[in-house]
């Protein structure tokens, strides 16, 4: 995952991250927010920031031609988050099934590297328990934890 990334800023709690995507559509403000849904359990929210109305759109399709760089930056925010909240759990799911499939592909393609420091589990739709991912299956969400002693 040694890919080109954007420089980002974060709040002092390391829950809100922001960076600028620069591509064929111009400059687009991206925001990553770790939403605490239960004690120590967070949902990774990611989208475009609409500065005119002050809202985050997690369904926006930017088409800025820099998906790999943007996602590499999001991955950096995950690492940053776990530095400050190592005992937390992050849920990763796309705002659409296609996005979840994209996230699954990124996880699958980088699994050996991810698993040196993190544990990945997956949840099938309608399933009630997390499993070790089998990438032949389709999952509704993934869960990531930092390993205690990588």
């Amino acid at each position: 995952m040694n890919r080109d990334k954007y420089k980002y800023s974060s709040d002092n709690q390391h829950l809100i991250f922001s960076f600028f995507s620069i591509g064929k559509q111009g400059v687009i403000t991206k925001v990553v927010v770790y939403e605490e849904i239960e004690d120590g359990m967070y949902n990774l929210a990611f989208g475009d920031y609409n500065y005119l109305i002050g809202e985050i759109d997690d369904k926006a399709i930017s088409n800025n031609g820099d998906t790999i760089k943007v996602l590499a930056t999001v991955i950096e925010t995950i690492k940053d988050f776990f530095v400050y909240k190592p005992e937390s759990v992050i849920f990763i799911q796309g705002s659409t099934s296609n996005r979840t499939k994209l996230y699954a592909k990124i996880i699958r393609d980088n699994l050996s590297e991810i698993e040196t420091e993190y544990q990945i589990l997956a949840l099938e739709t309608e399933s009630t328990s997390l499993d070790i991912p089998d990438f032949k299956k389709e999952y509704s969400k993934f869960v990531i934890l930092k390993k205690q002693n990588p």
């Binding site: 709690q13 985050i56 705002s95």
Partner: protein
Amino acid sequence: MKKEKVILSLDADEIIAQIKEKYGETPIFTEKAKKLQEELRENPKLAAQIASLKKDKK
């Protein structure tokens, strides 16, 4: 062009401050987060599994 100038006039820290002002210090604003909260409440087995994973890390 005008849009780009406006975006560049805000830095990332200012945007974070705006988000905090709108959504609060610990924001929950996405539909999927709210749905996930419901799922965890309705699915105690999953919530317990995650709690167990967290406990194992301590």
